[in-house]
């Protein structure tokens, strides 16, 4: 026990004293917080300053929507609806004059409606800056004018046909109490998911690094003479786990402070306040998820000969952690649906998925408890299996890594 504590204290102290740890734990959130703080201050005090950096250079087209020309060879455009500001769309008889006007900068771009528009519906939009993205956006007005003229100038009918429904949606079994239109409904669970993913992965990689490094420089051989492999593993896992928790606490704290300081109208409505139990479950799932992935990483660390191969081998281990990230939009849209429930109960994907669900909706208590129990059992099993394979024989052999060896070793057959 004493040995375990020594290892734990050593790992914890060396990790948090390392410059790179301090940078990622404090510097990184601080820099991004400052960045957003600066951005929001700049945005409030002088919006022009921001646009001058992000907007197009003056003298180039595409800044604001200016006057545009059109050449109607099909004869469809008879009237320009009154709601279009005068001078916004200027008619030209042929493309030559329109091109001249463009050259003289009287117009910023022009449309060409070909004579066979009725047959194939093509509209040509000539812009000096080309940008298709802005073009699709800005061409809406001209397309509307064409539609209105197709309907004989009846702009009310054109509007109604374009958007025939002002829909009032009533859900009999709404998935959550939240307003579906609010962007936070998506971004709050999304942020929580990313946070958990990064935290678990990062603290688990710390363990992998520490084992591979000691293996590479052969400190491990000396350590083995005075400490049992299991004590070593337990000490490392707890020590680095505490380091991970410290990091998590700092991140969450800085994030909170930044949101307050930034003055970003942080008036979360009641539906978005995460309850205290969320923090508690977060702690449980982080600790269990970390134990699971850290010991998996440790098993990789025990089998690979050097750090370079380690980073390739971890790929196999983290695949299940990535799956919830890929399915995230579905989990958030339907947090109590079949896919979300399965992923949050399956131990390897549970730590991340369950936190997404908890942030997105209220999860039945039995599911959270069941997921935690399943995860705890799996973690315990993996930690045991890894501790068993954490023997001098596997640790010291210089064989290359292969997934087959990993699974054999986990099953206790190596």
């Amino acid at each position: 026990m004493n040995n375990t504590l020594t290892v734990m204290r050593y790992e914890l102290l060396t990790t948090i004293a390392r410059r790179s740890f301090i940078f990622t734990a404090i510097g990184l959130p601080l820099i991004s917080a400052l960045f957003f703080f600066g951005l929001s201050t700049l945005n409030r005090s002088s919006p022009q300053a921001l646009t001058s950096v992000v907007g197009n250079l003056p003298g180039q087209v595409g800044n604001a929507v200016e006057a545009e020309g059109y050449v109607d060879l099909s004869g469809i455009v008879q009237t320009i609806p009154e709601s279009v500001p005068a001078g916004r769309l200027i008619a030209y008889a042929d493309e030559y004059t329109a091109r001249q006007a463009l050259g003289q900068e009287k117009i910023s771009a022009y449309y060409l409606v070909p004579a066979d528009y009725m047959q194939n519906g093509e509209i040509i939009y000539v812009r000096p800056d080309f940008n298709p993205l802005s073009a699709f956006d800005q061409a809406g007005l001209m397309r509307w004018v064409l539609r209105v003229n197709l309907l004989g100038g009846d702009w009310q009918l054109a509007n109604r046909a374009a958007n025939p429904l002002q829909l009032d949606v009533i859900l009999l079994e709404p998935p959550s109490a939240r307003d579906q239109e609010n962007p936070l409904t998506f971004f709050l669970p999304y942020g929580v998911t990313l946070l958990f993913y990064v935290l678990i992965l990062m603290s688990a990689s710390l363990l992998l690094n520490s084992i591979t490094k000691e293996k590479e420089n052969r400190v491990l051989e000396i350590l083995m003479s005075s400490i049992s492999p299991r004590q070593l593993l337990t000490g490392k896992i707890t020590g680095l786990g505490i380091a991970g928790l410290i990091q998590a606490a700092i991140w969450v704290g800085v994030g909170f402070a930044a949101l307050r300081l930034g003055g970003r109208s942080f008036d979360l409505s009641q539906a978005f306040q995460l309850p205290l139990s969320f923090l508690l479950w977060g702690l449980i799932f982080f600790v269990l998820g970390y134990a699971l992935y850290a010991s998996l990483m440790a098993s990789v660390g025990a089998l690979v000969p050097n750090l370079r191969e380690a980073s390739q081998a971890t790929f196999i281990v983290i695949i299940p952690l990535v799956i919830p990230l890929m399915a995230i939009s579905i989990i958030i849209r339907d947090p109590n649906g079949a896919l979300a429930t399965i992923l949050s109960l399956f131990p390897l994907t549970a730590p991340v998925t369950m936190m997404t669900r908890l942030a997105a909706t209220s999860v039945p208590l039995w599911q959270t408890t069941l997921a935690a129990i399943l995860l705890a059992l799996t973690a315990a099993w993996i930690v045991r299996a890894v501790a068993n394979m954490f023997r001098a024989q596997t640790l010291l052999s210089g064989q290359p890594f292969s997934p087959k060896r990993l699974f054999r070793a986990l099953a206790g057959k190596s």
């Binding site: 907007g55 800056d129 699709f136 197709l150 958007n163 949606v169 009533i170 890929m326």
Partner: protein, 404 residues
């Protein structure tokens, strides 16, 4: 020169013939395929083919549609109900995915109500909108109706006529984004290998033995060229994969046939890619020579890979305002240039003079970085087990020529 090729051959074959390299090479296309597969499966499982119901109190939908307005086969069936209670019962029984109620004043207000269990799918809403649209426009001449139903197609053309893209070609519009990513991955994986190659041999002291029989310049030059070749091999392999996928895919998905890559754009992107690859590789050699072990080296590379992600943070600026000062700055900065230039080219026109200045500047940076890297390498050889600071690399020149 013989030694140069020997080192080159050793480094190149050591990386390319490794299983890990093949794995990395295949993993990117495989991950893309896998993700596409997952998304398709999820999309399919989400699809709800149950009919939707409607209750019409406005009388709009009562009249039958003229033949010209009749629509093609529907993906979702529409069922009319005379009474909302009946529709509600059907909805609760799971026979309907949703139902819509048009009030008596619909024609004045366009207000309507939709009732569903959990959520209302966009497909269901679109289907019902199509029905309403068909009825609203039922009295129009068939020619007008056909045009309105098919919609129009916008073709964007640059003023000099050299570039053209239409709305249906959204894959081509997004393609530069992926080309930029491929460039970035190739740059960082090959320069990462290079750093490892320098640091490993420094750590296990092979370097000292090697330098007894070859000059530092030959050694580092050959290593750099080898790793750049590894990067190019990787890139080439991906382009071949992509080409094969496109050829096969175009048989099944017609949208792929609309993809066009303007050759000029690709050439300019490649021209920007090369100096950036050289710059990044040189910076990695510099890091590799100034740190003492592999782990420290990996941490330091974070300083280089972090700014490389900037174009993706500011992707929206690059796409909507390709000529903003920020976009221009990103395309001049060597670590972000390949992505920034590719995206600016795709979403706008870069003035030729600016483009030329940009490329020249990138090459100047590349040469400067190479010079620094060579110096760092030579000084690093002498100060063993000690980290080099940037000041040392820049500051103390000729006194420390590392001729073993």
């Amino acid at each position: 020169m013989v030694k140069f090729w020997r080192v080159f051959h050793y480094e190149f074959s050591r990386h390319v013939l490794r299983r890990g390299f093949l794995f990395g090479l295949l993993s990117v296309p495989l991950i893309i395929l896998f993700m596409a597969g997952v998304i398709m499966i999820i999309e399919r499982s989400e699809r709800d083919s149950r009919p939707i119901g409607y209750v019409d109190q406005s009388g709009l939908l009562a009249e039958p549609l003229p033949a010209a307005a009749a629509r093609d086969s529907l993906t979702i069936k529409l069922v009319a109900y005379t009474d909302e209670e009946l529709a509600k019962t059907a909805l609760e029984a799971g026979e309907l995915q949703a139902y819509f109620v048009l009030g008596a004043d619909y024609l004045q207000t366009s207000q309507a109500r939709a009732v569903a269990m959990k959520r209302i799918s966009a497909a269901a809403e679109d289907e019902f909108k199509d029905l309403l649209r068909a009825h609203l426009l039922a009295s129009q001449p068939s020619e007008v109706l056909a045009r309105l139903n098919q919609g129009d197609m916008l073709l964007v053309r640059s003023a000099d006529g050299s570039r053209e893209v239409n709305e249906g070609q959204w894959v081509s519009i997004l393609l530069p984004f992926f080309i930029g990513i491929a460039f970035m991955i190739a740059i960082f994986s090959s320069s990462g290998y290079l750093m490892q190659a320098v640091v490993d041999e420094k750590e296990n002291r092979t370097m000292e033995v090697l330098l007894t029989s070859t000059s530092p310049n030959t050694l580092i030059g050959a290593k750099t060229v080898a790793m750049i070749s590894v990067g190019m091999t990787q890139l080439l392999a991906w382009f071949v994969f992509a080409a094969i996928a496109l050829v096969i895919g175009s048989r099944y998905f017609p949208i792929i046939q609309t993809i066009q890559i303007p050759p000029g754009m690709l050439a300019i992107s490649l021209a920007a890619f090369l100096p950036c690859l050289v710059t990044t590789s040189a910076l990695m050699v510099m890091i590799g020579s100034s740190v003492t072990d592999a782990r420290e080296g990996q941490q330091m590379t974070g300083l280089i890979t972090l700014p490389a992600a900037l174009p993706y943070w500011f992707a929206i600026v690059l796409m909507t305002n390709p000529n903003s000062p920020l976009s221009i700055a990103l395309s001049f900065f060597p670590l972000t240039a390949p992505v920034a230039i590719t995206m600016r080219l795709a979403f706008g026109m870069i003035p030729p003079a600016q483009l030329a200045a940009n490329l020249v500047f990138l090459w100047v940076c590349a040469i400067g970085a190479l010079w620094l890297a060579g110096r760092a390498f030579r000084i690093g050889m002498l100060s063993y087990g000690k980290r080099l600071s940037l000041g040392e690399i820049l500051g103390r020149p000729q006194k420390q020529e590392a001729q073993p």
